[in-house]
């Protein structure tokens, strides 16, 4: 039922990791309006600190491929797969840069294109969380 969705979603926490404050704020604000509890990280280090924190448990991460700091989005996803396997990391980024980085890291390409399509992001997050609930 549509009117129960916000309540269900409000229990889900998402981490948005993006080093461009204008992009990060826009997508975080959109997801908050959709009922999610959104945590923002401006760099690889901030994203890792949030994921390491015992009191913060994001269900999923939306990260820019070209995240600032000592690691990029691919490194964040690799670390999450290793240390927090229950946390899905969606990557978004410039396709050319993503392909270049993907070649270096032998990772999959980005799931989502930047600038973000808010509806697409929402759809992907909903699908992920629905799949997880079924499991």
């Amino acid at each position: 039922m549509a009117d129960t969705e916000p309540r269900e979603r409000s229990q889900q926490s998402l981490l948005v990791a993006d080093s461009d404050v204008l992009v990060r704020h826009a997508i975080a604000d959109y997801l908050r309006r959709c009922g999610y509890d959104v945590i923002e990280a401006a760099s690889f280090e901030e994203a890792v600190a949030v994921l390491e924190a015992p009191h913060v448990t994001p269900s999923a991460v939306l990260s820019d491929v070209e995240l600032a700091g000592s690691g990029n989005g691919f490194a964040l996803r690799a670390r999450a797969a290793r240390e927090w396997p229950g946390v899905e990391v969606f990557l978004a980024g410039n396709i050319a840069a993503a392909a270049r980085t993907a070649g270096q890291l032998c990772e999959r390409g980005p799931h989502l294109a930047r600038p973000y399509d808010p509806q697409l992001v929402l759809e992907r997050v909903r699908r992920l969380l629905a799949d997880r609930a079924q499991r």
Binding site: V21, L22, R24, D29, E40, A42, A49, V50
Partner: protein, 149 residues
């Protein structure tokens, strides 16, 4: 609960307009997350910036804002005092609040309000409400003629 010392001028002249967010600038991610959450819980809309460069990007974007709340000690070429000075010269209608464990001796020479760390949610919310009013009253202080060119 914190024990922050606070200083504040009263609300600046309001302008009509849409509800505007607070720009919160803090490089310590968990302090930023907690402070933003306290303000959102109180009903304010918050934009989070991790340093002065991000804050200047947001200010330069033309995003209407109700208040700039900034830490002082931050990495990068600008600290919070430099950011406050830039904001006050470029966006003179935008109230500026300093949040720091190391406030200058004369904080009101640099800003319209100041709160020393550590502080708690009630102190932060009360001071911001004193500066710009309750959440449903927050208006754009950086729009129109006040906005930097």
């Amino acid at each position: 609960m914190g024990s922050g010392q606070c200083y504040a001028k009263g609300p600046a002249g309001r302008r009509d307009g849409e509800l505007s967010p607070i720009l919160l600038v803090e490089d310590e991610v968990f302090i930023r997350i907690a402070s933003a959450e306290w303000l959102r819980d109180a009903g304010y809309t918050v934009i989070e910036a991790a340093d002065a460069a991000e804050a200047l990007d947001m200010l330069g974007s033309g995003q209407p804002l109700a208040l700039l709340a900034t830490d002082i000690t931050m990495p990068g070429p600008f600290d919070g005092l430099a950011l406050a000075a830039r904001a006050r010269s470029g966006w003179p209608g935008l109230p500026v609040l300093l949040l720091s464990a190391h406030l200058p001796a004369d904080p009101m020479d640099h800003a319209d309000g100041a709160l020393s760390k550590p502080f708690g949610p009630m102190e932060l919310v009360a001071l911001i409400e004193k500066m710009i009013g309750a959440p449903w009253q927050t208006r754009n202080h950086a729009n129109g003629a006040n906005k930097a060119c």
